[in-house]
Subunit: 469 residues, 2 copies
């Protein structure tokens, strides 16, 4: 996932028909309980879903196949290969529909040259261009480095920035339990560091990789420019090399580095969301979306981010087929393209959905890695809907879900309008940023049981949304 805290506030209204339907089922929003026979019946289904997912590990093997294609940056050859793989794979599963939805996506390429050298020491640092960065000239930028912790310090030292390379040296606050919250607090150094630094005449930006793993593998991610301010090259340093550079700057405040990038932005490229669905048996026009994003960064294999979420979403539909569960509502799996650097797939999906007048009841996003399930965040303005979802916990517990809380869904499904609930799947997040946007994000780091238990949890919730919302 990328900037989770950027997700747009959803303009939301509850369709009157749905509201009346719910009122007829539930008389009090304060004390909603699912009746015990229903709990028992749904728990039996949940048990089958969990057992099948954990025993058969079909999604895990699909994820292995997807990762074999390589990283899947929007616009890249690999991304098109992955789209084709997904489209052909979905067609083998016997769903009611499988289709591609076109979207034009940004096309940025890393290029062959990436280097960052402390000149007097001839010491090379582990470096990785940020996604969207402009290149340097062939000789690179040679300049003094000014280290700042954050934007407050940058502002205070704005008069010192001219012709310097700004080095943002901030770390995810290890003391926070919620790693996404820690990430959200400092990600601005990556996304807006170049804009804020160039305002005051800086010629380049380096950031300490935003990671919870203190190794030397650099982590990339999207960065942005505005047209009114010069566009300066920006890259991430490996955590250990960032610490080293900081120490060396203390020893020599006039330390110079040479910094070279050959990345470039090409014209927008044609790409696609990949979509499949099972038609609802009773309410085919009411849609529940479950999805993740197919694109990844161009390092590692995008296994946790977000191969896992795509494959889980696909296996939700496949588990319905394997277990011969016929949902009342239409269940649609969407592999969104371009979540990492533009969200063009999500925008296209929502546009088409609005134009066609489709009625989306709810949507679930899985984009926090393939780890052991913990809970679901629910984005809804209706306390009634929230209470209904909470009343399902005795069933969801069968798949390792401990809680339902209010919270953001995700940057792809978060764009869908007029649903009753937008939902984010929340697995254990202690390790997620060890892997995120880096060469550490490989298939071997996904555990089959953790992935499949998550798939089961999302499947159970999808089924309940279909039958009971």
């Amino acid at each position: 996932m990328t900037e989770y805290n950027r997700s747009e506030k959803i303009s939301w209204f509850l369709p009157a028909a749905l509201f009346l339907l719910m009122l007829s089922n539930y008389t009090s929003a304060q004390t909603i309980n699912m009746d015990s026979i229903k709990i028992q019946n749904y728990s039996n289904v949940a048990g089958q879903i969990v057992t099948t997912a954990l025993k058969e590990r079909k999604g895990y093997e699909l994820l292995r196949e997807l990762c074999m294609i390589g990283p899947r940056l929007s616009g890249s050859k690999n991304s098109l290969e992955a789209i084709n793989w997904a489209f052909e794979k979905m067609k083998t599963f016997g769903f009611d529909s499988v289709w591609l939805q076109p979207a034009m996506v940004p096309h940025w390429e890393r290029g062959d040259t990436e280097s960052c050298t402390i000149i007097n020491e001839n010491k090379n640092l582990s470096v990785l261009a940020l996604g969207g960065s402009v290149s340097t000239s062939e000789e690179g930028i040679t300049a003094e480095v000014i280290e700042v912790k954050d934007f407050d310090e940058l502002e205070k030292r704005k008069d010192e920035l001219k012709d310097k390379i700004v080095f943002f040296n901030n770390t995810i606050d290890a003391g926070l339990v919620d790693t996404f919250s820690g990430y959200g607090k400092i990600v601005k150094q990556r996304t807006e560091g170049a804009i804020e630094s160039a305002k005051y005449g800086a010629v380049g930006v380096l950031i300490k990789s935003i990671t919870t793993k203190y190794d030397n593998v650099p982590h990339t991610g999207v960065m942005s420019y505005v047209d009114s301010i010069p566009k300066i090259p920006s890259a991430a340093l490996g955590f250990q090399d960032a610490e080293y550079l900081s120490k060396e700057i203390k020893n020599n405040p006039h330390l110079k580095i040479n910094f070279k990038l050959s990345c470039k932005t090409l014209p927008d490229a044609k790409s696609y969301n990949v979509i499949c669905e099972i038609k609802g048996s009773e309410k085919p026009n009411e849609i529940i979306v479950v999805g993740g994003h197919l694109d990844s960064w161009d390092v590692g294999y995008g296994a946790h981010d977000d191969g896992a979420g795509c494959i889980q979403s696909l296996e939700v539909l496949d588990l319905f087929k394997r277990l011969n569960i016929k949902p009342k509502r239409t269940i649609r799996c969407v592999f969104f393209i371009n979540e990492e650097n533009g969200s063009r797939g999500a925008r296209e999906y929502e546009k088409i959905a609005e134009q066609s007048g489709e009625k989306h009841i709810a949507a679930i996003e899985s984009d926090r890695g393939g780890f052991t399930p913990e809970g679901f965040y629910v984005d809804t303005d209706s306390s009634l809907v929230f209470d209904i979802l909470q009343s399902w916990l005795p069933v969801l517990e069968k798949a390792g879900i401990s809680w339902i809380k209010k919270g953001g869904s995700g940057s792809d499904v978060g764009k869908i309008k007029n649903t009753a609930a937008l939902i984010g799947y929340v697995p254990d997040d202690q390790k997620y940023f060890d892997f995120h946007h880096s060469d550490n994000d490989v298939f071997e780091e996904v555990h089959p049981r953790e992935l499949e238990l998550g798939t089961a949890a999302i499947t159970v919730l999808t089924y309940l949304l279909s039958e009971e919302l």
Copy 2:
């Protein structure tokens, strides 16, 4: 941990004084809520505990030191080195008391020779003697292999067992969410396979390793004999080699193997529990124990099982010191010796505690690995005590705890009598048996954030038990 489902049923009674104390604080067992000011105050302390543990990672570095000693099988030189390390380390922390409690422990050694060869193929299988096994002769046992799934099949085929090597080929049921439950259902093939097979004239036992990881690393663990039945050598095969052997037996039902072990049991050895405590400021005679077991198997480094639990228990006390928290009751950390193959440390601890008339209020065991916290199992006959513990969830949630359920504590603290509650710390268990009792159980597989968040959770609960039970 070892046979978790063997833990003795605790004979329990609630001291009258404690009961009256609790009644004065809580009027209804049905609707116990901690008042909101207390929740706020305790949550503030919990926040400090969590932040300090996650930021400073002191326990993680202690675990690295402990693992550097090597595996710590009871009676081994390494185990004594680890006892000495722990004793000296505890003395540096400024606790009120640090001491060793002697216990005689079994002393079994693996020896140099372990082999298992399919004769006609000259194919060596990955094999590891079970803990406590007798050796073979120097030439080994050469015999046909009879494969059974479980004890039911063994019983049905008892007339075929004479002079054969019995091969138990059963796997943890992957469809169960709770891996400990899956383990418990089949561990008997390891613990009692030799007894049941020798009854009918078998000359050796091989088991498929009891693991959730389908690699070829064999997993050991304790096995037992009875004096009235011949003692036959027993070993575990790597998962993949067990699958291979099964395939080969189908091809050739008279397939023979040669099987050699040189392990031996020496006289019982002197060993120790290692104990430290902080005296309670108001009720120094009321004790809360927090512990794990210092011994491990003789493969891997006992990082998750149970280096993690020991170090977490030690860091509970150290966090009180670092944060200058002065508990009302006495907090005692116990590194139990010999959990894996005899529980002599736990038996000695309880004997001495009873003789000295010590009053144990509660005890927490951490012996399920150093993974992300999920909840606590509580073993108590008092629904009042259970409800009180549940009322603390709003505080415990600060450290990632989602639930309090009735359940077993652990095989070490489970032996302590006359407490209000025996408690087992429950982290995520999806991966635990990948590592358990094998060369896979190494320091690198423990994640610092997961370990430390667990430490924080146990510390918060310990503090609440001290102040509020």
